[in-house]
Amino acid sequence: MFEPKRLHPVSAVINFVKGLKDSALPIIALIFLNGNIFSGEVEWIPLLITIGFLLLVLGGGVIRWLRFSYRVEQGELRIEHGLILRKKRYIPFHRIQSLDFSEGIFHRPFNLVKVSIETAGSGDLQKAEAELTAIKREDADELETIISREKNKRTIEEEGIEEDRVVSSREKVYEMKMKDIVVMAITSGGVGVVLSGVGVFASQLTEVLPLGTIYSEFLAWLRIGVLVVAFAAFVILLIAYGISILLTILRYANFSVFLDADDLVITRGWLEKKQMTIPLNRIQGLRIDENLIRQPLGYASVTLISAGGAIQQGAEHQLRLLPLIKKREIEKVLHQMISDYDFDVEWNRPPSRSMRRYILRHSWFAWVAVIPLSIFLFPYGLLAILAAIAFTGIGFLAYKDAGWNLSDQQLTLKSRFINKQTFIMKRKRIQSAAVTQTILQKRVDLESIRVTLKSGVGGAVARCLYLDQQDTRQMMHWYRPNDTVEKRSDL
């Protein structure tokens, strides 16, 4: 593997498709420019420009493939690319945090994978440090082996340990059942995403269609009755829901988690296979979410908070460690992966005098809105009262679900805004902590706590509101590095 290698030819096709996708707008504009192509009158110049443009994108894809080569040399991954400006990128193995594999529809027939290389401190936070668009599966595996062997050799040399580590000791620690995937798809919030997609599509449509006609049609419709509209909306909703269920199942099929030496490896996907590697020492904490539908069913999802180098779009999705699991099984499954995080803890609760504040915080705006709504939209506006009651209920639940626990090295906070969230954090991973208190809360000795962890580029904030002042001060005292000896042992 020491001679320069090219990517698989399919990557030229992938480059082309990607180029097309990136330049979709100018192409569409060009097509509109010679719009009357079917009516016989062809305008040659725009057509030629279109063809030239397509050829350019295609040629670009092929050239990029031709000029891209990678090789492994002297403990580095060396990538060279570029036509006019020859770019060389050498990545030392010890800086590589993880290799992530994914397989799209172009990869599957040829048994290829896309490899994203992530390093500790990528300058560009939006992209992985380097990407091999398409290489053979065996080559990717070989690359992974070489890198982990080199890395291990280095640590052994550094630490002077004789023992030769087994390079790949991959052990499956969790596999998601199909039943769980289906339940997850049904109870997910993905409906909203698809719906907004439909909304965008519809708004595009109105620009193409003759608006005036539609408007008069619409008025006629209204006369037929609101029922029809409601029914149509319902059908659209149902279809959107169905699509989102299908997408989720495709995305999460074969979801399993492996433990490989010091890394967690998550693989998932059916049409497009994804593999994600998370070094254990990059994990900053855990977040457990329970939405309003899943909580009564006893289901929750567990997400890793990781300081990973490159954060790609939708990283949140990728860091789902247990996308859906029965809450009582979390402790057991978690202990096989990350043993030092305790999930089942004894909860301390906010005092009863803060119940009023929780309810007000969640519902005051709804009650305020009720007054004008009821007056100006008289009969239907009264429905707003129901909404306000619902918000009051959520406020009460928020009070019920708030809690905290402090142990030797771990802080656990749970709270609810709409969904219930539980954060499990280690003392030495907390970046900063703050307490807040309004002047009104000062009189009744209530305080809120807010703790920040590092997550990707920014931070993840865990909070718990309106606790007894003594409790928050205990937490701050626990966090304060006041003992030199203890701090040393910590590091």
Partner: protein, 159 residues
């Protein structure tokens, strides 16, 4: 144990914040003059002027007088070898604790107005958060920046 942080920010911050408040009121005044012109030339309703006057008065009382005062009284900080503690906020009082081992870098910045008052703002960054102490005396800020950056020893693998 739960006492307020010891240090206050510079007293010149008060004058600076009052100037900021005055500038804000000045902008409102300009808008009000425009409204006055509109009332005069195009017969806009006159109660608009009353509202504008009210807003300017409120701004003078709040932004120039009360808020800078309260804000300055509340702002406190303390830097020890182990941690940095901040307290601020008028209605919502916030106290923040940043352990020294979490600090990644410290910056000072100084705009034209701050320079005129020989003040400087210091911002302390951890891997995930940025904390600012506004309007410190120039020299104090410089010393603080130096001492924090020499105290800060980030434990790399924890980040």
């Amino acid at each position: 144990m739960w006492r307020e942080p010891a240090q206050r920010i510079s007293e010149r911050a008060l004058s600076l914040w009052r100037v900021y408040g005055a500038i804000q009121a000045g902008v409102t005044l300009l808008v009000s003059i425009a409204v006055g012109g509109a009332v005069y030339f195009w017969d806009w309703p006159e109660w608009l002027l009353a509202i504008a006057a009210g807003i300017i008065l409120m701004e003078l009382i709040l932004s120039v007088w009360l808020i800078p005062d309260l804000r300055w009284k509340r702002w406190r900080y303390e830097v020890t070898e182990q941690d940095i503690e901040l307290q601020h906020g008028i209605f919502i009082i916030q106290r923040t604790l940043v352990p020294m081992v979490r600090v990644q870098h410290v910056d000072t910045e100084q705009g034209p107005l701050l320079r005129k008052y020989r003040l400087s703002t210091i911002s302390i960054s951890t891997a995930a958060t940025v904390h600012k102490i506004p309007a410190l005396d120039e020299q104090e800020a410089e010393e603080l920046r130096r001492s924090i950056s020499s105290l800060a020893r980030v434990a790399e693998d924890d980040v």
